[in-house]
């Protein structure tokens, strides 16, 4: 029997394309890994009228795209997509399968991995190949305080989900050519056990905090509702957004929309100011993708202070006031 060419696959997740370029980012990383193990980068696209996405994926580095295009696939469906993907994987046996950690991907990937009886690592922030050609998956745990390196040594494909924004996409090249492999819609697909009743786009302002380059987060250590309001002034001067911990929102010092945490908003600012936050895991899980962290707390041993690039041991309210004053002086010049 002819030996199959090694391949790395990316699940083409195109819903909300303009907010979410995770598929392109994964194609880029898959190209890096493919060079090391001598594999081709393949993308799967399931849906209807998908030509645009197929073209984009090829322009961004896909060498082969498996396309199942049919009116019945107009809406995303876990039951249908998992069955389609399972059959393709069994037929072509990719080494690695990467899925974006979108809401859909987070449900699709675990069920698919279960059906394929293989391992899956969630929310990888690093993907590398070791000397044995095995995928090393680096994933956060405990609110980002710990990182773990995980492998799936025997089962295939090695599966991982990756959050949007983790890798950089390759700039597009519309002269790139890739092979398009049409996949006929199987006749025996399962009936969808979930029906979509309605779907409404969330107002876009919801995204502001999650996408802000600068976030000023405050906790109970700000002392009072009045002092907490100063953080809004600091955020305004910095051109950033305000985030809050759960106790602050419960105390009505800040609006519900500002809540940053594990089951709430996940933020990824380049610079994060953290005022009077001790660093409970429910909060730190929401800031694990933050870049440069400046934390202010009276307690130098707080978890948040250990996570920071700069730990300022002082009263959070006073430092906030001093920062606003100093920034206004400097920015005016």
């Amino acid at each position: 029997m002819e030996r199959k060419k090694r391949s790395i696959w990316v699940f083409g997740d195109y819903r909300n394309y303009f907010q979410n370029r995770v598929t392109l980012q994964l194609i880029s990383r898959a190209n890096d890994l493919a060079k090391i193990i001598g594999a081709e980068v393949c993308v799967t696209v399931f849906g209807h009228d998908t030509d645009e996405w197929v073209g984009e994926y090829i322009a961004h580095g896909a060498m082969k795209v498996y396309v199942c295009d049919h009116p019945d696939l107009k809406f995303y469906s876990n039951d249908v997509y998992i069955t389609l993907m399972e059959r393709l994987v069994r037929r072509y046996e990719p080494e690695i399968l990467l899925v974006g950690a979108t809401t859909f991907g987070r449900e699709f990937a675990p069920r698919l991995a279960k059906r394929l009886k293989t391992g899956l690592t969630a929310d990888c922030i690093g993907l590398d190949i070791n000397e044995d050609g095995i995928l090393i998956q680096t994933a956060p745990a405990f609110g980002g305080n710990l990182l773990t390196k995980i492998v799936t040594p025997e089962r295939r494909p090695q599966m991982a989900t990756v959050r949007p924004g983790t890798f950089q996409e390759i700039p597009h090249n519309y002269h790139a050519t890739g092979e398009i492999v049409p996949v006929p819609l199987p006749e025996d697909l399962p009936k969808d056990r979930i029906r979509l009743i309605s779907s409404e786009r969330q107002p876009s302002r919801e995204q502001k905090l999650e996408d802000a380059a600068v976030v000023v987060c405050g906790g109970r250590g700000m002392g009072s509702r009045k002092k907490f309001k100063n953080l809004y002034e600091l955020a305004r001067v910095l051109g950033g957004e305000v985030g809050a911990t759960r106790p602050v929102v419960y105390s009505k010092w800040a609006e519900d929309e500002t809540l940053v945490g594990q089951a709430d908003k996940h933020i990824k600012p380049k610079v994060l100011f953290s005022f009077g936050i001790s660093g409970a895991i429910q909060h730190t899980a929401g800031i694990k993708d933050a870049g440069f962290i400046i934390a202010v707390n009276k307690n130098p041993n707080a978890v948040m202070m250990k996570m920071a690039d700069v730990a300022i041991v002082a009263d959070a309210g006073q430092v906030c006031t001093a920062l606003i004053r100093e920034l206004k002086k400097r920015i005016r010049s």
Binding site: R15, Q19, D79, T103, F104, R106, E107, P110, R111, K114, R115, K117, G119, L120, T121, A141, F142, G143, G144, N145, L146, L147, T148, K149, I150, V151, E154, R193, L196, S198, E200, Q202, Q207, G239, Q262, A263, D264, K270, I281, Q282, T284, A285, K288, F292, I293, K306, M307, D309, V310, A311, I312, V313, A314, V319, T321, A322, L323, R325, R330, I331
Partner: protein
């Protein structure tokens, strides 16, 4: 509906997990598995919200709740808490052979226990996410193992007959879905703020707790298919993510601290806010 008519009851299973209360933990450097018995535990917040969702459905539909956990003996605490909150009975999966399981094997083990001890369910509820390993995979994988539909990150839900209506935020869309029962949902902490434990509940929990403890043998599971041995993923290494941080500590009067901060990091901050933050000469 006739009281005691269990055929018309809404039968629910809530899967809960005990997670460590602290964020800095000892782990076994050899296996990379966390030594859970070294830290004080609590019920994972999202699991508690799942239990709250089940309790509200129970009040509305004459339901019955079975809480299940898998973990070391100390994880029994979360089952006592579940009983105190209003769960009717509990199932505890505990066996050294089950330790070190990844999500594939955890969901396999839980699904086998559900099939053996409470196969007559309408709805399974899980937390959307745990605060320790944070994979969000076990819920959907239990559903796949049992071949039932699932919906993750559920904000709100209501049951009508043999279907469940679900509201959730999925990839920036507010979705309303209808799912056939039996099915599985994973619940966020957004809508279902857990209740305080009623006084009567404490007596239920500690009087004669309705908790059944089972091990690998009771589930007829081969030890090669469970725990660390049966897991397709292996942990190579666990390390602190803050190791690479410089962690500069600044102390003193706020005004001096702020001056020092800008002296050292004006470029770091300035490049992000796109302003020149050099001191005014």
């Amino acid at each position: 509906m006739r009281a005691g008519d269990t055929t018309k009851m809404l039968k629910m299973i809530v899967c809960i997990k005990q997670v460590p209360m602290v964020s800095e933990l000892p782990w076994d450097p050899k296996t990379g598995v966390l030594t859970r018995d070294a830290a004080e535990g609590m019920m994972n917040p999202a699991c508690k919200s799942a239990l709250e969702a089940a309790l509200r459905l129970k009040e509305e539909h004459n339901g019955q709740i079975t809480a299940i956990t898998m973990g070391p003996p100390m994880a029994m605490e979360v089952l006592h808490e579940a009983l105190a909150m209003g769960a009717d009975r509990c199932l505890m999966l505990s066996d050294p052979k089950m330790a070190g399981a990844d999500t594939q094997v955890t969901s396999f083990t839980l699904a086998r226990a559900i099939e053996i001890f409470c196969s007559d369910y309408d709805l399974i509820l899980c937390g959307c996410h745990t605060s320790d390993s944070e994979t969000a995979q076990v819920g959907p994988q239990i559903a796949e193992e049992l071949d039932i539909p699932s919906a993750a990150y559920v904000e709100n839900l209501s049951v009508k007959g043999k279907t469940i209506r679900i509201e959730r935020i999925a990839d920036h869309f507010l979705e309303t879905l209808e799912m056939d029962l039996p099915g599985l949902v994973t619940v966020t902490t957004g809508h279902f703020t857990p209740r305080y434990i009623p006084i009567g509940g404490l007596q239920d929990a500690f009087g004669e707790p309705n908790i059944l403890t089972v091990g690998a043998h009771d589930l007829s599971l081969d030890e090669n298919t469970i725990g660390l041995k049966g897991s397709p993923t292996k942990i190579l290494e666990v390390f602190s993510s803050t190791a690479g941080k410089k962690n500069v500590v600044l102390t003193g009067a706020p005004k001096k601290i702020v001056e020092e901060l800008f002296k050292r990091f004006d470029d770091t901050i300035g490049s992000v806010i796109r302003k020149d933050l050099k001191a005014v000469k």
